[in-house]
């Protein structure tokens, strides 16, 4: 029964998740999906990494969504990530000025993804981080993780999540600095070095 009666709370039950499957590539990814930072913004950082499975093989049929605060720690409430062109019916791209905080990046044939965004500011009790949601063929329910940036050890030490993660797995949540504002963040779905994934309750 898929007509829900909100006046009967016992009928309001979650719609189950399903895999995104193999054939979303002409539907969900969009040009400039990873170009989240406004052009020329001084707080721009580059994030990149590989997405791999339990045998270390790259996933060419997956995408990540990034979502984060702006450099002041404020949550962007600006639309326009996937602006459409009413004339052609195609994509118009971002306007290059506004920061929407959200991007969607398809992995390439090597399982590699890259994004340019703004270094997030801190919010609440947390060290600054970028929220990540992973979707893939074979993944029946998407996975959440976070990208923390190295540098401010005091903030990382005080972060409520990082404080709870076993020491040997903590590094899976912290990107590695590669110079020139570039950070490497690999996501391992299973096995050795498995990324810490999150659930929210």
């Amino acid at each position: 029964m898929t007509k829900i009666d909100p006046s009967r709370p016992e009928t309001v039950l979650p719609t189950p998740s399903h895999t995104v499957g193999p054939f979303y590539g002409h539907a969900l990814p969009f040009p400039g999906g990873g170009d989240i930072a406004p052009i020329g913004h001084p707080d721009t950082i580059v994030l990149q990494g590989y997405l791999t499975d339990g045998e270390g093989n790259p996933l060419p049929d997956a995408f990540v969504e990034l979502w984060s605060a702006d450099p002041d720690g404020n949550v962007p409430q600006v639309d326009g990530s996937i602006r459409r062109d009413p004339a052609s019916g195609g994509y118009l791209g971002r306007n290059g000025v506004e920061f929407t905080g959200w991007g969607r990046i398809q992995t390439d044939a090597n399982g590699h993804w890259t994004a340019r965004t703004l270094r997030p500011g801190a919010r609440g009790q947390s060290a600054p981080y970028i929220s990540v949601c992973v979707f893939a063929r074979g993944l029946l329910v998407h996975l959440y993780t976070r990208i923390y940036l190295p540098g401010d050890e005091a903030a990382l030490t005080a972060d409520p999540l990082l404080a709870r993660v076993p020491a040997e797995r903590r590094d899976t949540l912290i990107a590695r600095e590669q110079g020139d504002g570039t950070y490497r963040f690999d996501i391992r779905l299973q096995g050795e070095g498995e990324t810490v994934f999150l659930e929210f309750q």
Partner: protein
């Protein structure tokens, strides 16, 4: 050894029995599939083995995951929710209208949220480069749409009935006809990607993807209801499918936001 439908049927039955036993032993109802559902072979190497770390959102209302990216009129064109009008000609197939309401776990409508869909054409073929199924492409059908929910949380699409298609996981593996949905709520924690099915599809018992939802009632929530009131005279068949997003929200967000 060649993997047969019979092999998969047995695995599906075993998973279902294991779930029934968990329930009988007092475990909670599972509204979501498990990520390690072996009858769907692609899940085997792509699910974490470690349990996720649970975050209690009530301890920090500032979590960015309790907010969601914004989408607006700039992100949608007027005909994006009509998949039959995106080309110079009409697609082949049975026209359908799909409508429903986007709700949170409290039954409140979620307004202005992005709903994206994609699907195979009426012959069961996706307009995707890597699709190998030997069924005809339709030059007048891409099978991609998007819309924003209205002030009452409703979405509405006009499209054609997708066909079932083979997918080679095992011999004679066929997917029941479905439309893929990607949905945002007011919190990133509510993000959902799923598939909507059509009533009484004979392929349901054979398909390890829909059967990955082992709870019978939860699985039924993936199946749209035929709604004669939504059928458009001389035009289309109507289906109704309400969507309830799981995942916590910020409790302090005011009703009507």
């Amino acid at each position: 050894m060649t993997l047969t439908q019979h092999d998969i049927d047995r695995e599906i039955a075993a998973e279902h029995a294991a779930y029934e036993k968990r329930l009988a032993d007092g475990a909670p109802v599972e509204h979501q599939p498990r990520r390690d559902y072996a009858p769907y072979r692609s899940s085997v190497l792509r699910h974490p083995e470690q349990p996720p770390i649970s975050i209690d959102v009530s301890k920090d209302p500032e979590l960015v995951e309790l907010r969601s990216p914004a989408f607006g009129e700039r992100d949608i064109t007027e005909i994006d929710n009509d998949l039959t009008r995106q080309h110079t000609g009409e697609p082949i197939g049975e026209r359908i209208t799909v409508e429903g309401r986007l709700l949170d776990r409290n039954g409140r409508p979620l307004r202005g949220q992005l709903v994206e869909i994609w699907q195979a054409n009426s012959a069961g073929r996706y307009a995707h480069q890597r699709e190998q199924h030997d069924a005809p492409l339709d030059p007048n059908f891409t099978g991609v749409g998007r819309t924003l929910t209205d002030d009452s949380g409703f979405y509405r699409f006009t499209t054609v009935q997708p066909g079932p298609y083979p997918w080679r996981q095992h011999v004679n593996a066929w997917r029941p006809a479905h439309i893929h949905f990607s949905i945002f709520g007011t919190a990133f924690t509510q993000r959902l990607v799923t598939q909507m099915y059509f009533p009484s599809d004979p392929l349901f018992p054979y398909d390890p993807i829909i059967q990955s939802v082992t709870d019978d009632a939860a699985r039924q929530r993936l199946v749209a209801t035929y709604d004669h009131g939504l059928s458009v005279p001389e035009f289309s068949m109507g289906y109704h499918w309400d969507i309830v997003l799981d995942g916590p929200q910020a409790t302090w967000i005011e009703e009507g936001r």
